[in-house]
């Protein structure tokens, strides 16, 4: 039961909800909206690699790959050596300026204990942040492309659909 989080760039509008809610919870955001050279706003956050280099270089085992999927860290083992910061191809691990230890996205470890998805996923207004079992998250994106090619799926935003909340 490995959990993944991916961003559907077809849906993302760069509203910064993920970045700002992460900043609210962790005082320094672990997801950041960065414009590409074409100006597309992309949320950059830990990709929780299958073979994470940050884990390989960590001399104390503070950074580890959780059985659940996410790359997480143990604060009490971290020496603040910054090897992980240099090793990550995306520059994701960060040093907490106040305490000097490493910090990164852990897909909301505290919340996962209560079986809750990460906060950025919960507050994403567009549904671009997807989280769940690999098949359940990646499946729809993959079949979307196939659907377009075979003509079984037509892009439609359902403008006529009445809100479910309607009433009174």
């Amino acid at each position: 039961m490995t959990k993944v989080k991916i961003v559907d760039m077809e849906k993302c509008i760069g509203c910064e909800a993920c970045e700002k809610v992460c900043e609210f919870l962790n005082s320094k955001p672990r997801a950041k909206i960065i414009p590409t050279k074409d100006g597309v706003l992309v949320p950059i956050t830990c990709l929780h690699c299958t073979a994470p280099v940050c884990v390989d270089v960590c001399p104390t085992g503070a950074v580890y790959k959780d059985a659940e999927g996410p790359v997480r860290f143990r604060r009490n083992r971290c020496t603040g050596c910054k090897l992980c910061v240099a090793a990550c191809p995306f520059g994701i691990p960060d040093i907490d300026p106040a305490k000097g230890f490493m910090t990164k996205c852990d897909l909301c470890l505290e919340r996962s204990r209560d079986n809750l998805p990460p906060a950025c996923v919960e507050l994403c207004p567009t549904g671009a942040m997807m989280y769940g079992e690999y098949e359940e998250v990646v499946g729809p994106s993959k079949s979307k492309a196939v659907g377009l090619l075979t003509g079984r799926r037509v892009i439609q935003r359902n403008p006529e659909r009445k809100p479910e909340h309607a009433g009174d």
Binding site: E16, F24, P35, L123, C124, P163, H165
Partner: protein, 349 residues
């Protein structure tokens, strides 16, 4: 969107015997409501429009934010956390007019709400639009970008008959390059109009970002950059416009310096409508001469580091306190304000 993301999908065990009123059910109001509901407070949200969601439901096009995600989050607040969402109910000092007031069925005085609740949070946003700083700006055929988007959204939601939508002619000039202007331009293109975008910013320093401007261009929008409208020409109705090139210094989407270049005036003929999207103005629930809550020069509510206004028990959050921002920042200020409301009511602030 789970506004009550701070807790599980069940009512908190501990209830706090205190009630908080939140005026405005937009991103910041809903985020504050969700946080405080998780802490066990009794929450009443006042929303002057028929649905909660604010700008996410009544301004931002459906192609960007699907309203059902927003409305489902509101439904969870109501059904699981007993948040009372009073729609079509406006809280304001008498006589304050804001875009979309036609949908208000009931108005409650601000003081009455402040007296009734242990704390009041004002999250009314920025619903007024800056008007065109040009000669002839009162001509017929000139609309604000937000009003155009609002009416088309209200129609989409089945709240407004087709005839009350803004009807544009075939040639439309959209002024500005922020997200509101871009969305209005996209909507006009979608309706089949020929759109010209005119802005001080160029494609690279536009506040909406170069991607959005290029996307508009790909849809056939022509972009006149580094230019402003000097005069609107016509007989009481827009017929053509006179634009002038400018030299400008823009940083972070903000125009720092601007100068008109003499001799570059030119007239663009055959403009049927002008849509103005050059900035939003805060809409606190009181007028300019209301003394009890201090406002700043740009119209926003003055708050301290704890998001408290100058009036006892009254907080302000979201764009009405911080100025125009993206959805993310409004959500964050809503959450931060909620933490201070909680601490103040617990006596730990």
């Amino acid at each position: 969107m789970r506004f009550a993301f701070m807790c599980k999908k069940e009512k908190p065990d501990q209830r706090v015997n205190k009630r908080v009123a939140i005026i405005g059910a937009g991103p910041s109001g809903l985020a504050a409501a969700g946080y405080l509901a998780c802490k066990g407070y009794g929450i009443t949200l006042y929303e002057r429009l028929p649905f909660p969601g604010g700008i996410m439901v009544f301004g931002i096009p459906e192609s960007r934010i699907p309203r059902n995600r927003v409305l489902l989050g509101c439904k969870e607040l109501e059904e699981i956390f007993d948040v009372e969402i009073k729609t079509s109910c406006k809280v304001a000092v008498d006589g304050v007019k804001i875009l979309g007031d036609d949908f208000t069925k009931e108005t409650v005085g601000l003081q009455k709400v402040v007296d009734e609740f242990d704390a009041t949070v004002i999250a009314t946003g920025t619903w007024n639009s800056r008007s065109l700083p040009a000669e002839g700006s009162s001509f017929k055929g000139i609309y604000s970008a937000l009003e155009y988007l609002f009416r088309s959204k209200a129609h989409e939601l089945g709240l407004m008959p087709e005839k009350e939508k803004i009807k544009l002619g075939s040639n439309v000039a959209v002024i500005g390059s922020g997200l509101v202007a871009v969305d209005a331009a996209l909507e006009a293109v979608r309706e089949g109009h020929s759109v010209k975008l005119i802005s001080i910013e160029n494609g690279l320093d536009a506040p909406s970002g170069s991607y959005e401007i290029n996307r508009l261009k790909r849809r056939g929008v022509s972009h006149t950059e580094r230019a402003v409208i000097r005069r609107v020409l016509g007989e009481g109705k827009v017929e053509s416009i006179e634009v002038i090139s400018v030299s400008a210094e823009v940083k972070g989407g903000v125009v720092l310096k601007m100068e008109q270049i003499p001799g570059t005036e030119r007239i663009i003929d055959g403009v049927d409508n002008i849509i103005v999207g050059i900035g939003q103005i805060p809409t606190p629930p009181f007028g300019k001469d209301f003394q009890e809550i201090r406002t700043l020069r740009w119209g926003g509510i003055e708050v301290n580091g704890k998001f408290m206004s100058s009036k006892d028990k009254v907080f302000a959050t979201g764009d009405v306190a911080t100025g125009v921002s993206k959805v993310g920042r409004a959500l964050q200020t809503g959450l931060k304000t909620a933490t201070w409301v909680d601490r103040c009511l617990q006596g730990t602030a």
